[in-house]
């Protein structure tokens, strides 16, 4: 335990070293366009109310877009996975959409829906939809045949089979898709704000650049990183709580 702690503390030297190097480089450059960590901390302190407000808008939109994707794509994925003929035919289309980077649809959505909240939520929902759909589809058509036999021999009804067998057995994979989708919706939420500027943290970053306040922009980035870390930690805890049985069975084999 003490060794663990020593490693954790000594490891901090790496980020500290980077910060020191960065500060030294900034001091040598002497330009406000390349602020050092000191300046960023000051900017962090003076700007945090604005940053938090804008970040809230961004996160809210990301959450709505993600929710839309969950509500539509999980049923669609199960449907495609269950009705094999339709799923097989549409598989190439899904593969094609998966290779298209989500931000590439921003200009197109802008044509249809303008730059408002609706347009951004559509973009975020699309970005979150791809991993959710792919994973739900994969999970629901690859249920182990043994499990179906178990359901049959227990004389479970159609509904009971779905609730007790199909759903839990495909849940781990759907959750993996959801984790990717959350990361993707955060990313696209910020990106869409930078390109279709109205409000939110992305717009804040753009403004900081336009007014040459690079230190404020970097402070904004620090908050984005913090939000990402917190969201990830939250997702991880929920996963451990709901899928404890899955991880329990997945102990390393060695």
């Amino acid at each position: 335990m003490t060794r663990e702690r020593r490693i954790a503390l000594l490891g901090l030297l790496v980020p500290l070293g980077i910060i020191v190097l960065w500060q030294a480089a900034a001091m040598m450059q002497k330009t406000p366009l390349f602020p050092g960590p000191g300046k960023v901390v000051v900017a962090l302190w003076t700007n945090y109310p604005v940053i938090l407000k804008e970040l809230g808008i961004t996160l809210l939109r990301a959450a709505i877009g993600f929710a839309v994707a969950v509500v539509t794509m999980i049923p669609l994925g199960i449907f495609l996975g269950r009705v094999r003929a339709v799923g097989k035919v549409l598989e190439p289309l899904m593969d094609m959409l998966a290779t298209l980077p989500p931000p590439a649809i921003i200009p197109l959505v802008m044509l249809f829906a303008g730059t408002g909240d609706g347009a951004k939520i559509v973009i975020i929902a699309y970005a979150a939809a791809v991993p959710l759909l792919m994973n739900t589809y994969e999970a629901s058509h690859s249920i182990h045949p043994m499990l179906s036999k178990v359901a049959k021999s227990l004389h479970l009804s159609r509904f009971e089979t779905m609730r007790l067998i199909d759903w839990p057995s495909s849940l781990p994979m759907i959750v993996t898709g959801a984790r990717l989708a959350i990361a993707s919706s955060l990313l696209v939420s910020v990106t869409s704000e930078m390109l279709l500027s109205t409000n939110g943290i992305g717009t804040y970053l753009q403004r900081s650049q336009e007014t040459f306040k690079i230190d404020a922009g970097l402070a904004g980035i620090a908050f984005i990183s913090l939000a990402g870390i917190l969201v990830n930690a939250g997702v991880f805890r929920l996963e451990k709580k709901w899928l404890f049985w899955h991880y329990r069975d997945q102990r390393p084999a060695e």
Binding site: P15, I18, F34, L108, F212, G217
Partner: protein, 259 residues
């Protein structure tokens, strides 16, 4: 069995026909104004015109090259970081702190801050792409290097390999398949990063071109360019797969061997 095989082969053409067909039906019904939803022939003609006048080819080459350079840089750096992490637990912990902080930041956020320092050229793209794509090869590399089994390690020691030899001849080859999984994921991210950066930097490349055409309300061209972006993804993936087959063919052979 034969019918099933035929259906398997026809899957892709049927899918394409279905998509194109329903596209044309929506177009014919006129639910969406033509300005926003052009017919397939219109898109094809516009796409062909862009191809023949040469601007698209150079924009496409620029974008693809940027993604490729970024990906190669990220793979090399990622593997280097993974090796460093394998050498010392303290370094491993330290690099992990840095990756935890940098990983959640979207590529778009770096662009406006870096423009002043790095300009609008290759440096900017290399910086942004490497900063966001280095993590999957690195994380997979760390996990894979740590997961090399004791049997393999002891066999290597038995052959009298030094620590470096062990790393180079046993651990790295054993970890390579998993690292390639990371690189494949990184390829997807690098395309996202390059498109976004081009949209924001607003000077050249396909990302910039899509926006320019969208602002000019040239919808057929926008659809055509989006198609090209998707092709880029397929190409980059194909390239990574090719390299993976060359370098880790032994592993793929083992995985696909019938039981």
């Amino acid at each position: 069995m034969n019918a099933a095989l035929l259906a398997e082969r026809l899957r892709v053409p049927i899918c394409i026909a279905l998509v194109l067909g329903s596209w044309q039906v929506i177009f014919a019904l006129g639910v969406v104004p033509e300005k926003y939803f052009p017919s397939i022939p219109t898109i094809a003609v516009a796409f062909w015109q862009m191809l023949t006048d040469g601007t698209v080819i150079s924009a496409w080459a620029t974008t693809f090259l940027r993604a490729l350079i970024g990906l190669v840089g990220a793979a090399v750096l990622g593997i280097a970081l993974a090796i460093l992490s394998d050498l010392s637990p303290v370094l491993s912990r330290g690099i992990r702190y840095v990756s935890d902080v940098l990983q959640p930041i979207p590529p778009a956020a770096f662009v406006p801050m870096a423009v002043f320092m790095l300009g609008l050229g290759t440096k900017l793209y290399a910086f942004v792409i490497i900063l966001v794509t280095v993590w999957p090869p690195y994380l997979n590399g760390v996990a894979a290097l740590a997961g090399v089994g004791p049997v393999q390690l002891n066999t290597g020691r038995m052959f009298g390999l030094s620590n470096w030899g062990l790393l180079w001849r046993v651990k790295l080859p054993a970890a390579l398949p998993e690292i390639f999984t990371g690189i494949r994921y990184a390829a997807t991210i690098s395309l996202i990063a390059v498109i976004v950066s081009e949209m924001l930097a607003g000077r050249d490349g396909i990302g910039f071109m899509i926006f320019k055409k969208a602002f000019a309300l040239r919808t057929p061209e926008v659809f055509g360019l989006m198609f090209l972006v998707a092709i880029n993804g397929v190409l980059l993936n194909g390239l990574v797969n090719l390299l993976r087959r060359r370098l880790t063919g032994w592993h793929i052979g083992m995985m696909e061997r019938p039981e």
